[in-house]
């Protein structure tokens, strides 16, 4: 990424973004107080939300729903309509930001085409149970959440986890429930994460309608060249998402793709141990740890750019330096379209290569006079990157992200100089176990949590 590109990206906010977020904030405040306790300010905010999407395909439904909510009729239909309105508005913010990013970087991205593929039926009773908890949350508001209301979700969550087709909702609702439980009683919290919890609630309402929208995929073959790994984690789930370049075997453009593998876990499995839970994907983990390419044959690629990992269709390839891939292949690769319901600023995660900067003491990279904030909180405990390595770095593969009005760079890999010796660190380096002897020793000292719990599960669950 060049200074001029960075300047264009961060220079001015795309028109309409500020106004849209103000409307969203109004709704979020209403949800914090509870829809059973709508004051005049909240009623006005609901009206503004409905008004903002009045010209969209949602039409008059949100306005009618807001009207009914104001009179105390808080049903699933009303909540779905306002959740859809909020999602549409943030989808528009997402589109404006991604357009700006694509323009600044000169990144090409085709429009969205509805994939064929039919997700098939999903158990309606499980979705209804999920919706009913979300309805109770909306009525009570975050300030009204107590232990009993959080525990009310337990049975629905168990059922959701047991149904693979509803994994997305299970993972999301469990993450929200855990945060609420840790914050109980929420009324005593000094500050409430209003945007975040309203985001999670909205997304859960959308998922509680048809289950997943991952949709159809087409088979692709070619050489997969890793760029870097992003790790997502809450108490009971971890996801490793690889960003990579796919060189197709036959015709077709070189593409930016992602591979995500996820697994359930418990809160006491943390740090580099999470890799052990992903042992079902040995080819993928070896490619990350050994920095190799992967030959894929007939693997499914969704319209949204997600390669649905299948070990049977993957074979380890030759060593491939992610920095070389980023330098040679990234600029010309075609980025994927974004599934409409996935559009939210939080999912913007565009890989870039940044070089020739000066890392400042204020947590920014100075790139030819333009400053890019580096998110050094977002360095996963399952990998070797540290704020010190980032600060000493001279080249970085990272993800451009946007949150609350600010673009940041999330490092996935850095090339640094330590005692004048060049070192590289990548988030996926420890995929086959920590390579840092200090970390490996610490892990050995605390024992293998995965093995201990699996033994307990084996003995106690089947008694």
């Amino acid at each position: 990424m060049q200074a001029v590109q960075l300047a264009e990206l961060t220079g001015r906010v795309p028109p309409g973004v500020g106004e849209a977020l103000k409307v969203v904030a109004g709704f979020d405040a209403a949800l914090a107080d509870g829809l059973a306790r709508l004051g005049p300010r909240h009623t006005e905010a609901l009206g503004a939300l409905a008004g903002a999407v009045g010209g969209s395909p949602l039409g008059a439904a949100p306005a009618e729903a807001s009207g009914r909510l104001a009179t105390g009729s808080i049903g699933a239909a009303e909540l779905s309509a306002v959740a859809a309105a909020r999602a549409a508005l943030l989808g528009a913010v997402h589109d404006a930001l991604l357009d700006r990013l694509d323009g600044a970087l000169g990144r090409s991205r085709p429009g969205w085409e509805e994939p064929p593929g039919d997700p098939g039926p999903v158990p309606a009773n499980l979705l209804a149970a999920g919706r009913s908890w979300l309805q109770e949350l909306a009525i009570a508001g975050w300030r009204g959440v107590d232990d009993a209301l959080v525990s009310a979700a337990d049975r629905a969550l168990d059922a959701l986890w047991a149904e693979p087709r509803l994994r997305r909702l299970a993972v999301l609702a469990d993450g929200l429930a855990a945060e609420l439980r840790a914050s109980c009683p929420v009324a005593t919290m000094e500050r409430i994460p209003e945007r975040r919890w309203a985001d999670l609630w909205t997304r859960a309402v959308l998922l509680s309608h048809g289950g997943s929208w991952t949709g159809g995929a087409t088979a692709v073959s070619g050489r997969l060249l890793p760029l870097g790994v992003d790790v997502h984690e809450h108490g009971t789930a971890v996801q490793v998402q690889l960003h990579a370049v796919l060189e197709p075997a036959g015709e077709g453009p070189v593409r930016l793709v992602r591979v995500a593998v996820a697994v359930a876990k418990v809160d006491t499995i943390v740090g580099p141990l999470v890799w052990k839970l992903l042992s079902a994907y040995p080819t993928l983990l070896a490619a990350l740890a050994e920095r190799r390419a992967v030959e894929v044959t007939g693997m499914s690629l969704t319209s949204g750019g997600d390669l649905l990992w299948d070990e049977e269709r993957a074979a380890a390839g030759a060593p491939a330096d992610p920095f070389a891939t980023a330098r040679v292949r990234l600029a010309g690769a075609q980025a994927p379209a974004v599934a409409p319901l996935d559009r939210h600023p939080v999912r913007i995660a565009e890989p870039v290569l940044v070089e020739g900067y000066k890392a400042g003491n204020d947590g920014t990279f100075d790139l030819g006079g333009e400053r890019l904030a580096v998110d050094s909180d977002r360095l996963p405990p399952s990998g070797p990157l540290t704020p010190q390595l980032v600060k000493a770095s001279t080249a970085c593969i990272g993800l451009l992200r946007w949150d609350a009005g600010r673009w940041t760079l999330q490092p996935l890999a850095v090339r640094s100089a330590v005692k004048r010796q060049p070192v590289e660190a990548h988030n996926g380096d420890w995929a086959l176990g920590p390579t840092d002897p200090k970390v490996a020793k610490a892990q050995a000292r605390s024992g293998d949590a995965v093995a201990v719990l699996s033994e307990r599960a084996g003995r106690l669950l089947r008694n």
């Binding site: 855990a178 500050r191 997304r203 984690e233 418990v266 943390v270 649905l308 999912r347 399952s382 009005g405």
Partner: protein
Amino acid sequence: MGSGEAGWEERSAVRVAPPVQPRKLAKVPFVELAEGRLQGVVSSGSDIARVYVSSIAAETHDFSCSTNNNRPCGGLGGGHRCKHLDALIDEAVRQYGLERVARYLKAGEGDDLRSLLQGTREKAPAAAVFSRFLRHLTYLEVPASPEPLTEMHWFPALGAVR
């Protein structure tokens, strides 16, 4: 990224629940602050098929310890805790930090949590806690999946201080 930061309420990807710290699980595989109690499961030192369910109530600090088959723990007295309960307290402090455990139990201030908890023996529902532990373990039985979870972008893995 703490909640002291300006604009925190407007952010989507922030940490709300503090992370738990890694600890040895062999002796005390399960600890939680829930249902108004510090409760958990302690593996028996002598019989690998036996576990003890131990709990300490917030405010009163009354305690209980029994096997998962509801047999009372032999080490428990009317006014003194058994070694399982002390192990539970120590591991909870490792996992959550002293401050969070003391706050949950309303234990007052001091560095030695064991001595701050002066309750008496009570009967508490061991079966319920044990079934919560089994529920906890079933997470490890859920098969991994290659379906992308876009929702996880709200849950970034955030670095611990190293």
